[in-house]
């Protein structure tokens, strides 16, 4: 190792491999990092180009920003809750099914993942309208007297977002459940644990890391959602992403829009750190238990 020619050779190899990554680094740098940094810079500038904190003062003193923040969090948390309620039983069913059935169901789960977000949004628009399939079915079953307001509001945006995120939530949860040692479940059964006790204390506990990853994906993605609330929310649901677009299209206020963009980025970063902390803490607790 101390041979200088060997060390030089090693360094040259490192430089070579780094140069292999250079095109990707440059592309991501130019088309993603530079734009983000530019928005950061712009959020601290006046229209005339002078340094200021005015943009942040302006957005933080505006009620519109705060109501957008509340809507964003409400949408993200509700989507996450629905994904858990719908996704965990689905993952559990898949993990307990035979390989064949599980693979077939996985294809059904993956297909909507690759269908265009606009195709899916359109489908929900058609289903949830006043005279859509859901309302006509409910009425013909005699469950409702008049059509329920299911779309162009918070409910519509929530349904669309849950539908979009559900496959991304189910996949890591299913992967974690599939890896659970079946002998542990058998041992629990033979020791007399009932079905639900086994699910709660063994399966959900051991699948925790998968549930945490799935939750992180759902929460972080939904914070910045734009298309689904824009179409299914019908202008009444305005999370941060839509507030940014409005600020630009209505007021051409680039300073405020940039500051709002940074606010969104900070929320994503905080959410990411929180989930990593939760995962690390719970991982240690399970290992020490």
């Amino acid at each position: 190792m101390s041979d200088p020619s060997l060390l030089r050779e090693q360094r040259r190899e490192r430089m070579f491999f780094l140069s292999l990554a250079a095109p990707a680094i440059i592309l991501v740098g130019v088309a993603a990092m530079v734009p983000i940094l530019w928005i950061l810079r712009q959020s601290f500038l006046t229209l005339a180009g002078e340094a200021t904190l005015g943009n942040y003062e302006k957005i933080l003193s505006s009620g519109l920003t705060w109501s957008s923040l509340v809507v964003t969090l409400e949408l993200s948390l509700s989507t996450l809750a629905l994904c858990m309620v719908l996704g965990i039983p689905l993952a559990l069913a898949l993990a307990s099914a035979s390989r064949r059935v599980a693979n077939l169901a996985l294809i059904l789960i993956m297909l909507p993942l690759w269908t265009s977000i606009l195709v899916r949004t359109y489908g929900w628009l058609v289903l949830l309208r006043k005279d859509g399939l859901v309302n006509t079915t409910l009425a013909s079953l005699g469950l409702t007297d008049q059509p329920l307001p299911l779309v162009y509001n918070f409910t519509g945006a929530l349904i669309g977002m849950t539908h979009y995120m559900l496959p991304l939530f189910v996949l890591p949860v299913y992967a974690a459940m599939r890896d659970i040692d079946g002998n542990l479940v058998r041992a629990a059964a033979s020791l007399g644990a009932g079905f639900w006790r086994c699910v709660a204390t063994i399966i959900l506990r051991l699948a925790f890391s998968g549930i945490a990853s799935g939750s992180m994906i759902v929460f972080i993605y939904t914070l910045g959602f734009f298309i689904t609330p824009a179409v299914l929310g019908g202008g009444k649901v305005n999370p941060i992403a839509i507030r940014i677009e409005r600020t630009l299209s209505t007021f051409q206020d680039w300073g405020s829009a940039s500051a709002l963009g940074m606010l969104l980025l900070i929320m994503v970063l905080i959410a990411g750190c929180m989930f990593f902390a939760i995962r690390r803490l719970s991982g240690e607790r399970i290992r020490h238990a």
């Binding site: 190899e13 490192r14 070579f16 491999f17 780094l18 292999l20 990554a21 095109p23 990707a24 592309l27 991501v28 130019v30 088309a31 993603a32 734009p35 983000i36 530019w38 712009q42 719908l86 039983p89 689905l90 069913a93 307990s96 169901a105 294809i107 059904l108 789960i109 297909l111 690759w114 269908t115 265009s116 977000i117 606009l118 195709v119 899916r120 359109y122 489908g123 929900w124 058609v126 289903l127 309208r129 005279d131 859509g132 559900l166 496959p167 079946g182 479940v185 079905f195 639900w196 910045g224 298309i227 824009a230 179409v231 940014i244 677009e245 963009g261 969104l264 980025l265 994503v268 990411g272």
Partner: protein, 264 residues
Amino acid sequence: MLDAYHDSRLSRALIWTIASIVLMFLMLPTLIVVPLSFSASDLLEFPPKEWSLRWYETFFASAAWMAALKTSLMLGALTAVIAVPVAFLASIAINRLGFPLAGGVYAFLLTPSVTPGILLAIGLFVVLAKLGLIGSFIGVLAGHVTLAIPVAVVVLLPAVNRFDWQQAQAARSLGAAWSGVIGRIIAPQLSLSLVAAGLMAFLSSLDEAVISIFVANGPNTTLPKLMFISLRDQIDPTIAAISTLWTLFVGVVVLTLNMRTTNA
């Protein structure tokens, strides 16, 4: 996994009932669109009273929709052609560099996938405006390639990690240049993953809407942007026809890929 609970029929039935309903929930919006696309009526009545191909005719006869389709297909193809080789080389670098450089490169390349699309979109808008490239094909392409690189890296890195690197060392010790090792030994063995990465990159570009909404204009308007605009204004049944074609296309691609990879 739950075979020890054969006797808990009721609980298992409950889990499966929920699972079936959730699967229906996942399929429903994609499936509902198919019969509507063959309706003869302007209204979105279900089930349609009369059938026709008029919405498909409208789609293929419309210059605006056709231009958007062409733009989107070209963007998707070019995105895949650029993003896959670039991500392939980066994956090799990540595999070979070791701690801590590899982690840094990996995290850097994944940032576009965790950054909110709206932020990338307005940032790209400002940068392209400075360069006078707003609405240009190359501007949208840059955005799509950046989003496709993490997608391709996530597909390719596990394949590169599984590769038997002793082959590369053998070739190197026999005097092969790295370009030969990568091009003639690694790439052919990972051809399936490269194709998969290409399709994923293509589909990610085809479906990208937020960046397109901000930076794609005029003749470079993409299909998702045009769909977004017409969904905002009114519910146009032409979109049902486009949706059906889109789902059919992606379904065929994903199923073929699935069969190829499970057979291999």
